[in-house]
Amino acid sequence: MSAKESVSLGREIPATRRVILHDAAHMPNDYSSTPGGTIFSTTPGGTRIVYDRAFLLQCRNSPLTKSPPPNMAKIPGVTTPAEKGSPKVNGNPECKTVAEKPENPGDEPQFEMDI
């Protein structure tokens, strides 16, 4: 093993990636991250797109997330409808009011008892 071999070779700086922001909400809130994620140039074999939690949470506010994807599977009780607050068909309140009992006066004499 010669000293020559242990010297690591220089590598070029990876190509610049241009990130265009359409919304101020996409700006990271700390100086250590870049918009569009951090690029790790030290990963062998290339770059890796890394995002921290805060940045990902900011992206949630993007107008692109407001409607479900067109081909999203529909599963009742799991995938929710686009509008929130619309009343769910979850039973009929009218059914619960037991006010109107079927009128059946004819039945009553049956239960009368002679003592």
Binding site: R48, V50, Y51, S62, P68, V78, T79, A82
Partner: protein, 223 residues
């Protein structure tokens, strides 16, 4: 000899099931669209799945209860699925969400999972939604720093507890599994007495005929 034959028969059945499943899923699975303008691409595309065990007799197999929800290639595409899904804690009964790299099916039999395993974290009721979100964001944001080892994440809603798991490719790669464990501890902000367990999928396969649950028969690793 007799046992051997039985085993071979079972193996054969598995194979058939797998093949039929594959063809079924090819039809149902739609690939993630390429990230549009203004979207933030992620390192790997992922797919979202849902499964629910029907109460009563277990006549349906796991792959029959598994539903493909959709695939995504950017942060914004992920949120457009996520914000239109019920939170894990809002799910009823015996339900799971799975987010796996596109092309990896959330099952032990998949080639990417065959030699793999998973970290399991049992959570008391009430914190699953928050922990699941943190886990998923760490996975999509490449916080684990284990190369291509991560396969996917699962949240399992059960009656007494909720369970998070993170699957990786190589169960006997201890550098990877301990790095995943440390990252999980860091990102999840777990209560102090939380138990983390690692389990190889081959153990799950061995015991699946006996008790039908992949969360039993685990080795305890810490605290």
């Amino acid at each position: 000899m007799n046992n051997m034959n039985k085993f071979d028969v079972l193996k054969g059945e598995d194979r058939d099931e797998e093949n039929s499943l594959k063809s079924k899923m090819d039809i149902k699975m739609t690939p993630a669209p390429p990230p549009g303008s203004g979207e933030h691409p992620i390192q790997f595309n992922y797919s979202l799945w849902f499964s629910k065990r029907t109460p009563g007799k277990q006549t349906t197999s796991y792959d029959q209860t598994l539903r493909f929800v959709g695939s995504f290639a950017s942060v914004e595409q992920f949120w457009s699925y996520y914000t239109h899904l019920s939170r894990p804690s809002e799910l009823s009964g015996h339900s799971d969400y799975h987010i796996f790299k596109e092309g990896i099916r959330p099952m032990w039999e998949d080639d990417a999972n065959k030699a793999g395993g998973k970290w399991i974290i049992r959570l008391k009721k009430g914190i699953a939604s928050r922990c699941w979100e943190n886990l998923v964001l760490a996975m999509l944001g490449e916080q684990f720093m284990v190369g291509g080892e991560v396969c996917g994440a699962v949240v399992s809603i059960r009656y007494q507890e909720d369970i998070l798991s993170l699957w990786n490719r190589t169960a006997n790669d201890h550098v990877t599994t301990s790095r995943i464990r440390d990252t999980l501890k860091r990102i999840l902000n777990l209560p102090p007495n939380t138990i983390m367990e690692y389990k190889c999928h081959t153990d799950s396969l061995k015991y699946v005929f006996r008790d039908r649950s992949s969360y039993r028969n685990t080795d305890l690793f810490m605290r």
